[in-house]
């Protein structure tokens, strides 16, 4: 019997939680920033796919990486609106996730904003002047992965995926 989209969704959610655990291991081992960000990007992508799969179907969502910028803020809106009675704080949390979601999405090599954002967490890239950048030596200045916003993002992915993985 073929797996259902609900089963796929639960599986994406569980794998996203595993990606977050792998990220924590890398943080404790003082791994380069690109690796910490890579696992965060993968967790965010799988969280979005979990929430999209049930109604859009696994076959329609499995191939793309470009789901985070659009869908993570929608997940944040639902969760913070329901979880956090402090509306002002919830509004700030949603705003932080919106700002981060695009930066997290372009960490995937396939999501380069129409060749504008070649920086990514996996493969070396070249700028227009011919300089080669290596992810493990790059500072990813647009993302402070120890910031309050990142901690919030990780909590959101964890809460969202735990609710879906049961």
């Amino acid at each position: 019997m073929q797996a259902t989209d609900e089963e796929w969704a639960r599986s994406y959610a569980r794998q996203a939680l595993s990606d977050l655990r792998a990220r924590e291991t890398l943080v404790r081992a003082n791994a380069e920033k690109c690796h910490r960000l890579h696992f965060l990007q993968m967790a965010a992508e799988k969280a979005c796919k979990a929430y999209l799969t049930v109604k859009n179907g696994h076959n329609n969502v499995r191939k793309s990486h470009a789901y985070v910028a659009r869908n993570l803020p929608i997940i944040a809106r639902q969760f913070y609106a329901v979880i956090n009675p402090d509306r002002k704080q919830a509004r700030r949390q949603v705003s932080e996730i919106k700002q981060l979601a695009h930066e997290i999405e372009v960490l995937a090599p396939a999501c380069d904003d129409g060749d504008v954002r070649r920086d990514n967490s996996e493969y070396p890239w070249e700028d227009e002047k011919g300089n080669i950048y290596t992810p493990c030596e790059y500072s990813f200045p647009n993302i402070d992965d120890g910031s309050r916003a990142i901690v919030g993002l990780i909590k959101l992915i964890r809460t969202a995926c735990e609710s879906y993985s049961r």
Partner: protein, 106 residues
């Protein structure tokens, strides 16, 4: 024992909460049909958000959260004002979904 909220009451409460946390959210509409008899049939919200990435009808499904007053599963479909303008005759072109009543921020 507290009376369980209806789907419409839950949809109104969700809409109010969404408006409170997203300043770019311009309108929320209930998507019909709504099956009041089936608790597993999700509440469906069409949310018109300025500045969203335009991808058409791409529903996101949330499970029920009774501990926080959300007794039913829900679905959010986010579109831009331009995409909303392009919807003629209220049909979303997704299953038999149509645009129902508008849910207000207050």
């Amino acid at each position: 024992m507290m009376k369980k909220k209806s789907k419409l009451e839950t949809a109104e409460s969700l809409a109010k909460a969404h408006f409170a946390v997203e300043p770019n959210l311009k309108h929320i509409y209930l998507i019909e049909p709504v099956d009041d008899q089936d608790p597993n049939d999700p509440i469906k919200l069409l949310e018109v958000v300025e500045g969203t990435i335009e991808r058409g009808i791409e529903p996101i499904a949330f499970i029920a959260d009774p501990a926080r007053g959300i007794e039913y599963p829900s679905i959010v479909v986010e579109i831009s004002p331009t995409e909303y303008q392009a919807i003629h005759d209220g049909k979303l072109g997704y299953h038999d979904w149509t645009i129902g009543r508008e849910l207000l921020p207050v």
